[in-house]
């Protein structure tokens, strides 16, 4: 990203001077040349800012002085670079960063600046991801944060955001010293990559409410809200066992088809789509009724779709399975007139 600004902020005289110095060092191998001139842009820019362009002087003399002090006399032996594991790691990461910078700069428009501006958003997002992942693995900790719903979660997230931002700004460790530790750099890279991978996982976990295992009150409310959207989860149970389908009968005991059920709060009554093997060697998936484009899972009985266990493919057309009883005995309640349905035969 900085290569963008490099072009803008390096004074032309510095660039010219440096080009002339590099010419004088042309006999060095590219690595050595890069090593000896790296950072000079910044140093020379400072010099010019402080004492003007004249302070640069003669590039040939400058190059000679640089060489002499560095022990790189023309044609004489080379500087032997001590390449440690850490340096190799830094070089690799620096190269990768330069590649990325070049790539970002090559993109149309002001992409590089946009990417740079988005960094803080990532710092916040990764902090939240970290808290979510921690909450997932710690289970009972109940840290799941839909901000504003759970105080400890919000506090922990705030702390994580501050840490993440300071880390991103390079302020978490005193000074810039930590940048020298290649291990930390690799660790940070790994954590970032992990956070990127966890983004879709956490988001899908959120929308399915998968990690809401305990019964804290806000989570129960959350689960209820989810139940309206997600028929697969937290559906009706009877004695701890999920209810597989519902067969309504009218007061006369006749089987009804297409009865919409809601609870006293107006929420759709839905089942757990257990897809269990029901003993006939096939799984069953519930098939919703439709209200325009809307899938309705609170209309009973629901049709079931056989799914072959071995192939996972649909097996035949969805159909309402035969009811447990063809009819039930009629019922009555004093003072209540039961519904009379058109087309139902009394």
């Amino acid at each position: 990203m900085n290569t963008v600004s490099d072009q803008g902020t390096i004074a032309p005289e510095v660039r010219e001077f440096l080009a002339a110095v590099r010419d004088q060092l042309a006999d060095l191998d590219p690595d050595e040349q890069r090593d000896i001139t790296e950072g000079l842009e910044a140093d020379l820019s400072d010099l010019v800012a402080e004492r003007g362009g004249e302070a640069l002087g003669d590039p040939v003399a400058y190059a000679r002085e640089l060489r002499a002090a560095a022990g790189l006399e023309p044609g004489i032996g080379r500087l032997r670079r001590r390449t440690t594991m850490a340096e190799a790691t830094h070089a690799l990461l620096d190269d990768a960063h330069r590649h990325f910078d070049r790539l970002a700069t090559a993109l149309p428009g002001d992409s590089a600046a946009v990417i740079a501006a988005l960094q803080p958003a990532w710092w916040v997002l990764r902090a939240w991801i970290a808290v979510e992942v921690a909450a997932y693995f710690l289970g009972e900790w109940a840290l799941q944060v839909i901000p504003g719903q759970n105080l400890p979660g919000v506090l922990v997230t705030l702390v994580a955001v501050v840490l993440s931002v300071q880390l991103g700004r390079g302020r978490l460790w005193p000074g810039e010293r930590w940048r020298r530790a290649s291990g930390l750099r690799v660790l940070l890279l790994g954590l970032n990559a992990f956070a990127v991978l966890m983004v879709p996982v956490v988001l899908s976990g959120l929308s399915h409410g998968d990690h809401l295992q305990d019964g804290s009150s806000y989570e129960a409310g959350y689960r209820d809200a989810q139940a309206q959207k997600q028929h697969e989860h937290a559906g009706l149970e009877l004695g701890g066992t999920p209810i597989r389908n519902i067969y309504p009968y009218d007061a006369q005991g006749h089987l009804l088809t297409g009865v919409q059920l809601v609870d006293s709060e107006g929420r759709d009554l839905v089942l757990t789509d257990s897809s269990d093997d029901t003993g006939d060697g096939a799984d069953h998936a519930l098939v919703p009724w439709l209200n325009g484009q809307n899938q309705k899972f609170n209309v009973f009985p629901l049709a079931e779709q056989r799914i072959a266990v071995d192939t996972g493919e649909n097996d035949g057309a969805p159909a309402i399975q035969p009811p447990p009883f063809a009819s039930l005995p009629p019922v009555s309640l004093a003072g209540v007139t039961p519904s009379l349905l058109q087309g139902s035969t009394p």
Partner: protein
């Protein structure tokens, strides 16, 4: 006497000493040396020295991206550099004391 000749012999020591206190980038280190009184020190000599000390393992270096300008290359001292600094500091102390003593004696000889 040309102080640049004297400087050459002790530039490594001076550079190590100013980097030892706090990591710095090239021009920053030049400034520290100048502020310390070595007003004749050449920028290129300092940068060359920094690279040589780095190649010798006395310094490490790391690049710090800057918001507003080109990357800065920072230098920090390594344990090797610290050992070298201590050794050279001791050598310098002995050397300076010896030379000072010789000079004082010769001056006393002249004035006596």
């Amino acid at each position: 006497m040309d102080t640049t000749q004297l400087l050459k012999g002790v530039l490594d020591l001076a550079v190590l000493a100013v980097v030892d206190g706090e990591d710095g980038y090239g021009y920053d280190i030049v400034r520290r040396l100048r502020d310390g009184g070595l007003s004749d020190v050449g920028d290129a000599s300092v940068y060359g020295t920094l690279r040589r000390l780095y190649s010798g393992g006395a310094l490490t270096s790391y690049v710090v991206p800057s918001e507003s300008g080109p990357h800065r290359k920072y230098y920090g001292i390594t344990p090797t550099g610290r050992a070298q600094l201590k050794q050279q500091r001791d050598d310098w102390d002995v050397f300076a004391t010896t030379v000072t003593a010789i000079l004082r004696r010769s001056r006393e000889g002249v004035t006596a």
